[in-house]
């Protein structure tokens, strides 16, 4: 599919066109990914951050309690998640070169690698050499959102810190793909700019990367901005209907791409999206460091909407006629082991 065809899918649709789009997305998702949904858990390891992102709860400016888990604390949280059946783990943190250093991440990855089938990070961007080092320690997936492809808006919401530089961030995607890491999660933060333009830019970015880095797995995600400690007024809110159209359009445009859905969205909407295009969901998420064993409101990145337990979500997936998949990778594949 080319860019123009993709844009056609993003246009305002009549009711019957919408139904047709959704039906096509459902069929394609089922054919490609089967009657399954992969479940994963985010593990917040730090909320310390040197960046000022006006929309984020972890933003440097915000007077919230800050905490970086010790390696031991990370392992305890991870063990808890493992007991909940999770085998796909996503480590999340704010951007803090000292507190969340490559050495710290590398140590954690080495300890967690044998316990999980897949280990992803959603942290500060690094250079190729650092990614290679992290890959050698067991990280097999990097999640790195550009947040917005609208350069003006990018500049107006990323006020200070290393994230301020649009070009540098966008180039980091290639650093990931050159490092040996096999999977890249990309995304836009919905609400910052016009969603149709953002989706088009993400699609073009992805097409370019896919041609050059054809061995990589790509996933996309479309987090919608949520209320947080920043009290950010969302300039371009995206409705549920537009959100669904966006997911269905991406499914048609990129049949092989995983589409990831977080607990930012409500249980009702998430249940609706199961089968539409989404292939991976988080479950039972806590967005504060240490939150699985010691819940603490003060430390959160944002409020989650879907607060069901992993077991409840697993049952909801089954009720939709799909199988929840807890393990869909084999960690022994990693070159480093």
């Amino acid at each position: 599919m080319n860019v123009q065809q993709f844009q056609n899918l993003l246009k305002p649709l009549t009711e019957s066109e919408r139904l047709h789009l959704f039906q096509s997305a459902r069929t394609l998702t089922r054919q490609r990914f089967g009657r399954t949904i992969q479940l994963f858990a985010p593990l917040y390891i730090s909320n310390e951050c040197v960046v000022t992102c006006t929309y984020c709860g972890f933003s440097r400016q915000n007077k919230i309690e800050r905490k970086t888990l010790t390696v031991d604390e990370v392992l305890k949280e991870a063990e808890y998640l493992r007991q909940q059946r999770f085998r796909h783990l996503l480590l999340v943190s704010g951007e803090h070169p000292k507190q969340v250093s490559p050495e710290y991440l590398s140590l954690i990855a080495q300890k967690l690698r044998p316990l999980f089938a897949s280990l992803a990070i959603e942290v500060a961007p690094f250079d190729k050499e650092t990614y290679s080092r992290l890959c050698a320690s067991g990280v097999d997936r990097v999640v790195l959102y550009q947040e917005t492809y609208d350069r003006l808006q990018y500049a107006s919401v990323h006020l200070a810190g290393p994230k301020k530089f649009y070009e540098k961030r966008i180039q980091s995607a290639e650093a990931v793909l050159q490092s040996g890491i096999r999977s890249l999660g990309m995304g836009i933060l919905l609400g910052l700019s016009d969603w149709r333009a953002e989706a088009t830019a993400l699609f073009e970015h992805l097409l370019g990367l896919r041609k050059k880095y054809w061995r990589a797995d790509y996933t996309v995600s479309f987090p919608r901005l949520r209320p947080c400690a920043s009290d950010f007024a969302i300039p371009h809110p995206v409705s549920d209907d537009d959100f669904k159209q966006l997911i269905a359009a991406f499914r048609l445009a990129l049949p092989e791409a995983g589409i990831v859905l977080s607990t930012r969205e409500s249980a009702t909407l998430r249940d609706e999206l199961i089968g539409l295009g989404v292939t991976q969901m988080s479950a039972g998420s806590r967005t504060e460091p240490g939150g699985y064993l010691h819940p603490d409101q003060a430390l959160k990145q944002f409020e989650t909407e879907d607060q069901r337990s992993p077991e409840e979500i697993s049952r909801a997936v089954q009720a939709k006629g799909l199988e929840p998949v807890w393990k869909d990778e084999e960690s022994t594949l990693m070159e480093v082991l």
């Binding site: 089922r30 054919q31 490609r32 990914f33 089967g34 009657r35 399954t36 059946r85 085998r87 089938a117 096999r182 896919r210 054809w214 061995r215 990589a216 797995d217 790509y218 092989e256 089954q318 006629g321 799909l322 199988e323 998949v325 807890w326 393990k327 869909d328 990778e329 084999e330 022994t332 594949l333 070159e335 082991l337």
Partner: protein
Amino acid sequence: MPDTLKIAGKEFNSRLLVGTGKFSSPQVMVQALEASGTEIVTVALRRIDLSRPETDILHFIDRNKYLLLPNTSGARNSIEAIRLARLSREAGLGNWLKLEVIPDPQYLLPDPIETFKAAEILIKEGFIVLPYINADPVLAKRLADIGTATVMPLGSPIGSAKGIKTKENIRIIIEQATVPVVVDAGLGAPSHATEALEMGADAVLINTAIAVAEDPVLMAEAFRLAVIAGRKGYEAGIAQEKEQAEASSPLVGIVGQK
């Protein structure tokens, strides 16, 4: 004499191999396997969680009834495939292996070079290797030469349901084969399976078409019958396409008339 499929010295009554991915639940999978009449079941090693055997997919597959054919899906090069194969054998899953080396997540096409390299090593290590390949006749010959138990050429990309788009190459592979030819991937309808068997393929492997059907159990039965029909058709000698050149004006009666 009963018509059986022979792979690596073992005989099978069914010419339908079935994959276990993409089902809505293990229970539906079990019923579909039953209805398909299959005797060889392939399982993705990456899906198996050996730390939780009681809930794992393996728990649902009766190994007295089905030969387990672990596959290396997820491996992107020979090193990874070999690693998975060894893990499989160490875990007690036997030495049969469906070798899949797929570096391209977009169309899921197999890597001929890495597949060959992995097959060479695994055969030396005593594995019974069934390699998944593109429909490349020379690659098929090269693999049979080093001792693979079958060749498994694709009809079209995995999960595409497009049927046998590689027909001419599959015809050549079958014609030249010294090991069973299992058409694997892309067969979306029972008629596609029939077509493969009519062409002389020894067997087919089906996964997506059964697993994602509205009624997977009924579809499994449909494939069982389709495979039987195709094989009987082949044995009965239908569809004899002429592949050798034949002059449009026959020479009989012309030569030597002067």
